[in-house]
C-alpha cells in the first residue's frame, strides 16, 4: 500500500479536487434525474470512487486511449468529456456525445481519447491492448488505459488479456477499481484470491495495490506506471481499493450489505480527505453551477430523428 501525501506540485491538488467534485456532483444529479425519468436506462454511479478516475485520467493526453466499464461517467469526465454532451447522452439526446445512441454504459468521445465504456464486464480489456499495439506500431508514444472492476477479473478474457499484454510487452495500464463487490455479492463469494494484484503475479508484470480513496496515492502510483509505459515499458496493473457508496445500479435496494456509517464514510471519502489537506472549499459550488448548466443544455437538445439509425449501422 502506498500512502499519499499532499506533496503535489503547483496546482495539481486543486485540479484533482475540482475534477472529483465535478464527478461527485454530476453523479448525484444523474441519480436524481434517473429517479425523475429524465436520464434513462441502466445507470451505475461511481460516487465514492472519484479518486481513481481523477488520479489516473488527469495525467493522460488526449491521444492516450482510455477504456472504461459500465460505471464510466467519472472516467469520462476526468478524461475531459464535456459535461453538457455527456449529460445529453444520458438523456438520449441528439446533442449527446454519441448522439444518444450509446447511453450511460457506452460513452465514447474519440476527440478526448475516451474510446469507450462497455456494458459487458471485461469486454473491452483486449481493446485497450489493441490501442496500445496500434500506438507502438504506428511509432507513437501513446499509452492505453482500461478501467475495470474486481468483478471482471474472474472472466476468461481478463486472463487472456493479461497474458498477451505481458507476452507482447504492450504499453497498457490496467486499472482495477476493487470496490469489494461484483454487482450484488462480495468478492469473497466469487474467488479465494483477495487481491487482484495477486491474481496477475505469475505473469511478472509490475503491479501495485493502493488506497483508491487516496487520490494522491493513486496519482503517484499511476505516474510511475505512466512513465514506464510512455518510455516503452508495460504492461502495468494498478489495483485501487475503493468503495462504491451507492448501489450497483440506481434503484438497487442493496439488501446484500449494510450501509456505511456516516462517520466511517467521512474517513473514506476521497474528496473530503483531499479537501481537508488542501484547506480549499468552493469547488462544490462551482461544480453545481457547471452541472446545472449541463442539465439545462441537455434538456434543450432534441431527441435524435429516426433517420439517424440507418445512417449509423455501417461506416
Amino acid at each position: 500500500m502506498t500512502t499519499g501525501v499532499a506533496g503535489l506540485d503547483g496546482d495539481v491538488g486543486l485540479r484533482l479536487l475540482r475534477t472529483m467534485w465535478r464527478i461527485r456532483v454530476f453523479e448525484e444529479r444523474v441519480g436524481q434525474l434517473t429517479r425523475a425519468d429524465e436520464v434513462h436506462g441502466l445507470v451505475h454511479l461511481s460516487v465514492g470512487q472519484e479518486g481513481v478516475a481523477a488520479g489516473v485520467c488527469g495525467q493522460l493526453r488526449p491521444d492516450d486511449a482510455a477504456y472504461s466499464n459500465h460505471r464510466a461517467h467519472g472516467h469520462a469526465i476526468a478524461k475531459g468529456v464535456p459535461l453538457g454532451p455527456l449529460m445529453a447522452e444520458l438523456m438520449g439526446r441528439e446533442g449527446g456525445v454519441c448522439r444518444g445512441m450509446g447511453g450511460s454504459m457506452h460513452v465514447v468521445d474519440v476527440e478526448r481519447g475516451f474510446l469507450g465504456a462497455t456494458g459487458v464486464v471485461g469486454g473491452n480489456l483486449p481493446l485497450a491492448l489493441g490501442s496500445a499495439l496500434a500506438g507502438r506500431l504506428l511509432g507513437g508514444d501513446q499509452v492505453a488505459v482500461v478501467f475495470f472492476g474486481d468483478g471482471a477479473v474472474q472472466g476468461g478474457i481478463f486472463v487472456e488479456s493479461v497474458n498477451i499484454a505481458t507476452l507482447w510487452e504492450l504499453p497498457v495500464i490496467l486499472v482495477c477499481e476493487n470496490n469489494g463487490f461484483a454487482e450484488f455479492t462480495p468478492r469473497s463469494a466469487h474467488t479465494n484470491v483477495e487481491r487482484v494484484s495477486d491474481v496477475v503475479a505469475p505473469y511478472g508484470l509490475d503491479r501495485e495495490t493502493v488506497d483508491g480513496n487516496d487520490v494522491v496515492a493513486v496519482r503517484e502510483a499511476f505516474a510511475a506506471f505512466l512513465d514506464g509505459a510512455r518510455s516503452g515499458g508495460g504492461p502495468f496493473l494498478l489495483e485501487c481499493l475503493t468503495h462504491r457508496l451507492r448501489g450497483h445500479y440506481e434503484g438497487d435496494p442493496q439488501h446484500y450489505r449494510e450501509a456505511l456509517a456516516a462517520e466511517d464514510w467521512q474517513e473514506l471519502d476521497p474528496i473530503l480527505r483531499l479537501q481537508q489537506q488542501l484547506d480549499h472549499e468552493g469547488f462544490e459550488v462551482e461544480a453545481r453551477a457547471e452541472v446545472e448548466e449541463a442539465v439545462e443544455w441537455a434538456r434543450s437538445r432534441p431527441f435524435p430523428s429516426p433517420e439517424v439509425i440507418a445512417e449509423l449501422v455501417y461506416a
Binding site: A65, Y67, G96, V97, C98, R99, G100, M101, G102, H106, V108, D109, V110, L115, G116, T118, G119, V120, G123, N124, L125, P126, L127, A128, L129, G130, S131, A132, L133, A134, G135, L137, L138, A144, G156, I157, E160, S161, N163, I164, L167, W168, E311, L312, V313, Y314, A315
Partner: protein, 324 residues
C-alpha cells in the same frame, strides 16, 4: 492462362495489402508459420513478426485486440482457425466490433477483417466442420462475405481490408486446393455474380455449393433443363436485385448452402425473395441444406450428410414439379 488456387489467392491478396499499406497486420494462431493450410505462409518472412503476429489460443482476446487496434488506426486481419472457434470470440465480434460505430454515434470505425473457414468433408467431426455464417448475418454492423472462387477470394479480401467496417470473411476448406484460372479482377462487397446463365430455374448457391450447383447445372443441361446459377458472394450486404431479376426470368428458385437448412441463410433469402417477387414465383422456393443434426464423423455418414450436386439436382426437379 496461369492457374492459382483459392488458398494461394488469399495469401497473395494478404501480401499485396500489406505491401500497399503498412497499417495492415495479420494476427492469429500460428499465422507466422502459415497456419494449418498455409494461408499466411511466407508473410512473416517478408513483413516480420511485428506485423505477422502469432497469438496464444485466445480467440476472444485476439479478436478484441484487433478491434482496439482497428479503432486506433491499424487495419488488422485476424485469422480464426476454424469458424467453430468463432464462438469463443462472439462477444468481441457481436457486442464490441459490430456496435462500435453505431453506439458511438459514428465516431468510431472498426476496419477489421476476421478471416475464418468452415465446411465439412474432411472427417473433422462436429467441432471442426460447421457452417455458421447465418449467425453472423443476424448481427447488424457486421458484413459477411463468402467467396467461392479464387478470383473472388482475392478480390473480396482486398475489398474487405479496405472496408471501414468489421467484415467476417468466411472461407471453405474444401475449396482451398481447387485449381482455377488466375485473375486480378476486383470484386465489390455487395455485388452478386451470375455464374451460369439459364432460363428454367435459378439456383442461388453459397460457397462450396456454387461449384456443386454448376456441376448439377451441367448434368441437368443434358436433359434440356437450363439452370441459372447465382453466387451472392456476400450475404451482408446482399445483392437482392440480381437474384430477383433472375427469378423474374425463371420463376423458380432453389437456394443451396452447406449449413444446416433449419435457420440457415436460405430462410432469410427465401423470405426476402417472396416479399420482393411473390408474383414472379411459379412454385414454392426449395432449399438445399444440411440436416438438423451435428456433423457425423464417420466417413460414410458424413458423406451422406453433406449437401452437394445430387441434392441440387433433386431440388431443381422438385421446383420444376417433376419427380426426382
Amino acid at each position: 492462362m496461369s492457374e492459382t488456387t483459392y488458398l494461394h489467392a488469399i495469401t497473395t491478396a494478404l501480401a499485396e495489402a500489406m505491401r500497399a499499406d503498412e497499417r495492415v497486420l495479420v494476427l492469429g494462431e500460428d499465422v507466422a508459420e502459415g497456419g494449418p493450410w498455409g494461408a499466411t505462409a511466407g508473410l512473416a518472412d517478408e513483413f516480420g513478426a511485428e506485423r505477422v503476429r502469432n497469438t496464444p489460443i485466445s480467440e476472444a482476446a485476439i479478436t478484441g485486440i484487433a478491434i482496439g487496434a482497428a479503432q486506433s488506426g491499424l487495419r488488422p486481419v485476424v485469422e480464426i482457425m476454424f469458424i467453430d472457434f468463432l464462438t469463443l470470440a462472439l462477444d468481441q465480434l457481436v457486442n464490441q466490433a459490430a456496435k462500435a460505430h453505431f453506439m458511438s454515434g459514428g465516431q468510431l470505425e472498426v476496419p477489421l477483417v476476421v478471416r475464418t473457414q468452415g465446411g465439412a468433408g474432411q472427417r473433422g467431426g462436429a467441432q471442426h466442420s460447421q457452417s455458421l455464417e447465418a449467425w453472423l448475418t443476424h448481427v447488424p454492423g457486421l458484413k459477411v462475405v463468402m467467396p467461392s472462387t479464387a478470383a473472388d477470394a482475392a478480390g473480396l479480401l482486398t475489398a474487405a481490408i479496405a472496408d471501414p467496417n468489421p467484415v467476417v470473411f468466411v472461407e471453405n476448406k474444401s475449396l482451398y486446393f481447387r485449381r482455377e484460372p488466375a485473375s486480378d479482377a476486383s470484386a465489390a462487397i455487395g455485388s452478386a455474380r451470375v455464374r451460369r446463365q439459364g432460363r428454367d430455374v435459378t439456383v442461388v448457391a453459397l460457397s462450396r455449393l456454387v461449384p456443386e450447383s454448376l456441376a448439377a447445372a451441367d448434368e441437368l443441361a443434358e436433359e434440356g433443363i437450363d439452370v441459372e446459377v447465382i453466387d451472392p458472394r456476400s450475404l451482408v450486404p446482399l445483392d437482392l436485385e440480381t437474384i430477383v431479376d433472375s427469378v423474374a426470368k425463371t420463376h423458380r428458385l432453389v437456394i443451396a448452402h452447406e449449413a444446416v437448412e433449419h435457420g440457415g441463410f436460405g430462410a432469410e433469402l427465401a423470405a426476402q425473395v417472396q416479399a420482393a417477387a411473390f408474383d414472379e414465383l411459379d412454385a414454392p422456393i426449395v432449399r438445399v441444406g444440411a440436416p438438423f443434426t451435428p456433423i457425423p464423423f464417420t466417413p460414410p455418414l458424413e458423406d451422406a450428410y453433406l449437401p452437394g450436386r445430387t441434392d441440387v439436382i433433386a431440388a431443381v426437379r422438385r421446383v420444376l414439379g417433376s419427380a426426382s
